[in-house]
Symmetry: C2
């Protein structure tokens, strides 16, 4: 067995598994803050630019873990995290005792609790730390990071997390980061519906939507969704910042978790069905602001 991580010194070696739209800018912010980064991605080509910027390339998730004091995983969905964590070439197989694994993907709270237990059996500590703020927040280093897991591990990980986010909150035990992210997605979904319904009604009523936007963003009607996504709806800019299909994945997680805790989520369910309509129209790759087009189709011609 390899030697344990020295817990008496601050973390300097950070591993990264998943170099996508989010992972790549997060790695750059880590390097800017002085951390050494070793990275691995299933699709090797995605890593080239990051290596050019100073990151080392690992040969596998296990190799990345072996060379790190803290390993970040940021991939798409629960099965992807399970694969990179528990696979034969995965993080658990390579990590030294005392390593902190920080999963920044948005996945199931139930799967998270299971992975945390497995990590513990390997003498590792699992933190669930999903993010909000999208690619723009990842680039700017202003992500909201919601962390579940062991408090001392959170304290040790905090300088690493603060290099990527502007509000880093310890939410409670394992799974509470993911549960908080689901609360975040409930709001993101329902506020998106609000912006879509108000602006489609405004158009239908013959209003000047530009002036409506100006008046409504000033007061009690305002939301991040209205400001950012409402702007794009008016501009008919449906390019993805957050894709319909990814929002659907998150709402499926909300739906499952809500069933587990036995509470209906009426508004979220409505938005899920409307986004499914977009997917059925082969628009799953558009940004979520395309929801307004579904509402427009519902109104009179």
């Amino acid at each position: 067995m390899s030697s344990p991580v020295d817990l008496s010194t601050p973390i300097s070696q950070v591993g990264l598994v998943g170099v996508g739209v989010m992972g790549a800018p997060m790695a750059r912010n880590l390097m800017k803050a002085g951390f050494s980064v070793v990275a691995w991605n299933r699709t090797r080509a995605r890593m080239d630019a990051l290596v050019g910027d100073g990151a080392s390339a690992g040969n596998s998730a296990a190799d990345v873990a072996a060379r790190s004091e803290l390993v970040i995983t940021i991939v798409s969905d629960s099965p992807d995290v399970v694969a990179v964590a528990t696979g034969s070439d995965g993080v658990f197989a390579g990590a030294r005792p005392g390593t902190i694994v920080v999963d920044m993907s948005t996945i199931s709270p139930a799967v998270t609790r299971d992975l945390a237990a497995q990590a513990s059996a390997h003498a590792l500590t699992w933190l669930d730390a999903p993010v909000s703020g999208g690619e723009a927040g990842a680039i700017a280093g202003t992500l909201t990071i919601m962390v579940g897991g062991d408090a001392p591990a959170f304290a040790r990980a905090q300088p690493v997390l603060s290099a990527m986010g502007s509000r880093v909150t310890h939410m409670g035990p394992s799974g509470h980061g993911q549960m908080t992210k689901l609360c975040n997605q409930i709001l993101v979904a329902i506020n998106l519906l609000g912006a879509s319904e108000a602006l489609s009604f405004a158009s239908r009523a013959g209003l000047d939507v530009e002036r409506v936007y100006s008046a409504l963003t000033a007061g009690a009607a305002n939301s991040w969704a209205l400001e950012k996504l409402g702007r794009k709806m008016i501009d008919r800019d449906f390019a993805p910042a957050f894709k319909v299909k990814l929002q659907q994945k998150d709402l499926r997680l909300v739906s499952e978790a809500a069933r587990d805790v036995r509470t209906p989520v009426l508004g979220t369910a409505l938005v899920e069905q409307l986004l499914r309509t977009l997917e059925a129209q082969d628009k799953g790759e558009l940004g979520t602001q395309a929801l307004i087009t579904v509402l427009e189709q519902l109104g009179a011609r």
Copy 2:
């Protein structure tokens, strides 16, 4: 017939019909800005404090109108506005030619267009100018004011409106102020649902809602509703800033206007039904943030 209003000088005499939770602080801001205010209210006792602060008391809506260059009406619902405008002792009966009538109540856009036509037949100009921002905004003079009607009348009224609001927007012709307010209420309603659903889910999931609030107000989940009403939900403060029964009145107006323009409003309809549940529980006098209690009742015991 009394002499017409002199349109070559700026407005100095402002009438106010309706001295309620909104009207009283708005009158005080008008006086602070240097306008003379003459007021009338159906319940006379409500006017005493305002008269103590320097306003004149009118004997009727007609009397107020006769003594003003611009008359503000701010009462509860469409029939109330019709009564104070068209009654035998109403604004139309007393107003001199050239008077601007500014209705700052939230009422039906269709009724508004009808009143504007009647005003025109009396050589008066009708502006619909509903507000957002509640009692706090009325006191602070930071209301959002959404104005429909004749552009020259809007320009003449603007200094008066600016004494009460921080964002005053001319939305278009008659009725467009009210239609914009309905867009505002769509967002207010749906964003309220978002905050309620996310925070009730958070409690049910065993999260620390205080930390959830802190994390979620930082990013893409944020809204005025989450910040202001979510705060009150966590504090179990259901005292009214905006009453359930008034929100219901506004959502009825949305529902009617949406039917007129032939567009479904799925999210608003859902919130309307949930608020009706509160009313059925005799909670119509609570603040709208009490919506969370309905969602809590839906979950498992």
